[in-house]
């Protein structure tokens, strides 16, 4: 498999560890079901990034599943988290949304779906640690502007739509300041409350 996916290496690293470009995400160790959903979404144009849409356009479900399982199985080291540049207030606001949500604005806690440790849940919910701030805010923006969509009902589109620009900045700053676990462990399927229904994570 390593040779087959060399085409992905310039952007995602040879072991899916990510590269120095903050916008190019790490793939290694994410849940296979989640990665598979993303590959299908890129192939079918539901999630847009033209260079990737182009590479995957004529690949079968079976092959995309193999690619997803391959990257899910890799465990390259995480880079150390970047020291936060944002103020304590911003980081505290981020932490609070992630752990408790914001009842006043109807924002559910991120941990209700992504897990107490933010490690994600099998099969389709990714962890939120080890991602960089630019990527996190880019993805939340993608949901708000419609360039990223997941299977309906697309719960992340609802969640992202409830966040203000400042919330996005705070959440991205907080999450990217946390160290990633060396060996990611996912919450078992169905073990988290999930305040909204998600098409990518069927019950």
């Amino acid at each position: 498999m390593a040779a087959r996916v060399l085409a992905c290496a310039p952007c995602h690293g040879a072991e899916g560890e990510g590269t120095s470009d903050a916008y190019f995400p790490r793939l290694a160790g994410k849940p296979a079901g989640y990665l598979y959903n993303q590959l299908i979404a890129f192939r079918d144009g539901r999630r847009k990034y033209p260079p990737m849409n182009y590479l995957l356009e004529f690949q079968t479900d079976d092959y995309l599943k193999k690619i997803a399982e391959y990257f899910a199985s890799l465990r390259p080291a995480f880079p150390p988290p970047v020291p936060p540049v944002d103020s304590k207030e911003i980081l505290a606001r981020g932490e609070s949304i992630v752990k408790n949500g914001d009842a006043q604005h109807g924002i559910p806690p991120c941990s209700a779906c992504h897990g107490q440790t933010l490690g994600g849940m099998e099969p389709g919910i990714p962890g939120l640690l080890g991602l960089r701030a630019a990527y996190i805010s880019g993805q939340l923006g993608g949901w708000r502007y419609g360039t990223r969509t997941a299977f309906a009902p697309d719960c992340m589109q609802i969640v992202a739509g409830l966040l203000t620009e400042d919330d996005v900045k705070a959440v991205a700053a907080y999450l990217s300041s946390r160290p990633a676990p060396a060996d990611p462990s996912f919450a078992p399927r169905g073990s988290l409350p999930m305040p909204l229904e998600c098409g990518s994570e069927p019950h």
């Binding site: 040779a3 087959r4 996916v5 060399l6 085409a7 992905c8 290496a9 310039p10 079918d44 144009g45 539901r46 033209p50 260079p51 849409n53 182009y54 590479l55 995957l56 356009e57 004529f58 690949q59 079968t60 079976d62 092959y63 193999k66």
Partner: protein
């Protein structure tokens, strides 16, 4: 599989008189199966299914230099599809490019090729399309600029480019050659990309299969004629068959718009039919001498380009394509002697370097190896240098490429 193809061959050799069949008559399962196979050969699904849309429900945007056309719903839904059409009306569409009311069809629907399809085969496709799930979905109106939004313009196009008529086998040639001719010129509509397109949007018949730049897509479909310099003259039948069915071969891999054709259509054809196409393609003879290369850089500049190109090649390309361009087929195509990168137009190799690519996943090659895009890593000068190098090293006879050409293709739409 072989039963289907002998049946087809028999049908082909018969001179058929059109028989009007009633729309309601339930069709024979064998005819439906044959129709499904022929619809694959015609690649109806590629145009008549939108991304993530329902199969055959249409709505796919087709960009042309004159605006955007939207393909039609060809499911048997009576209100929004072709559920009320008779087999006569269907044949008229395929054969004459006319709607049931006599209206003219835009040539983006390849009736100029489908006109060669026999009545029997048209009826089989019709029978098959009646069995697909009906989808209620109104056709989207085309979005064409004036004056192209006026269908009467099609009349002029037809006078210039449309020759109506079913395929007539050539009795001096083998049954295999005739079958290949029928598939390539008819249902396969290969000339739609592989014959140069003139400003009016028609394929130039005088230069059939000599290759052409596909408008709006910025890809060049190479010559398929058997000229040693630019065609398939050096390919064995086996190599052409592998290329068409598996998407990879010892001579080169499928990429760009050709990947769609292999993915949706050719991989589903049986070995006899693909072999027949290869036999026919190999026998095509080039009309005139191939176009002479037009661009040439001053020699001092090109020798500098070449040495820069070689160092980039050794660093970024040799690990897959080999130190002397020999490749590791079928996983990594050879670049030495690969005519698809030496053509007068340098669009294809430049785009391959910028965008990378995967050959299509097919049943014969389900998990292909891929090539990374170099658009971010290499500057325009470096792209020009490495493409110049692969076009001229190892006995290749392509012309140098300029940084400006490389730059222009950065903006090409990807999909």
């Amino acid at each position: 599989m072989s039963r289907i193809s002998t049946g087809l061959l028999a049908g082909l050799m018969l001179v058929l008189s059109p028989i009007a069949t009633s729309a309601q008559q339930p069709a024979d399962p064998a005819v439906i199966a044959k129709g499904e196979y022929l619809a694959r050969a015609g690649d109806c699904i590629a145009c008549h299914t939108a991304r993530e849309g329902k199969t055959f429900a249409g709505g796919l945007p087709m960009k042309t230099p004159f605006g955007t056309l939207y393909t039609s719903n060809i499911t048997p839904d009576p209100q929004t599809g072709i559920g009320t059409w008779t087999s006569d009306q269907f044949y008229q569409m395929m054969h004459s490019g006319r709607f049931p009311d006599g209206g003219l069809v835009y040539p983006a629907m390849p009736f100029a090729s489908y006109t060669k399809v026999t009545r029997e085969d048209s009826d089989a496709i019709y029978a098959y399309l009646r069995t697909v799930t009906p989808v209620k979905q109104l056709n989207k109106p085309h979005d064409l600029t004036f004056p192209f939004n006026n269908r009467s313009l099609i009349l002029g196009w037809r006078t210039l480019f449309f020759r109506e008529g079913e395929f007539k086998p050539d009795p001096t040639k083998s049954a295999e050659w005739n079958r290949g001719n029928y598939l390539v010129e008819g249902l396969g509509h290969c000339g739609m990309c592989h014959t140069p397109i003139n400003a009016l949007g028609g394929s130039k018949q005088s230069q059939a299969f000599e290759g052409g730049l596909i408008p709006m897509q910025n890809w060049y479909a190479p010559s398929l004629t058997s000229n040693k310099e630019t065609g398939l003259g050096d390919w064995t039948i086996e190599e052409i068959v592998d290329y068409l069915r598996k998407g990879v071969s010892a001579k080169g891999a499928v990429y760009g718009p050709m990947a769609e054709v292999v993915y949706n259509s050719l991989q589903y054809l049986n070995d006899d039919d693909v072999r027949a196409m290869a036999v026919y393609l190999k026998g095509l003879a080039q009309g005139g001498p191939p176009e002479k290369a037009s661009t040439s850089l001053p020699s001092a500049e090109s020798s500098l380009l070449l040495s820069l190109g070689k160092s980039i090649y050794d660093r970024d390309c040799a690990s897959c394509h080999g130190a002397t361009g020999q490749g590791m087929p079928p996983d990594y195509p050879p670049l030495a002697g690969n005519q698809s990168i030496q053509m007068v137009s340098s669009v294809n190799p430049v785009r391959m370097v910028l965008n990378g690519g995967y050959p299509p996943g097919t049943s014969g090659n389900p998990t292909p190896h891929g090539m990374p895009p170099f658009a971010q890593k290499l500057s325009d000068d470096e792209v020009a240098a490495v493409v110049t190098y692969i076009r001229t090293a190892w006995g290749n006879r392509g012309e140098p490429v300029s940084a400006r050409q490389a730059n222009e293709l950065r903006a090409a739409t990807l999909n």
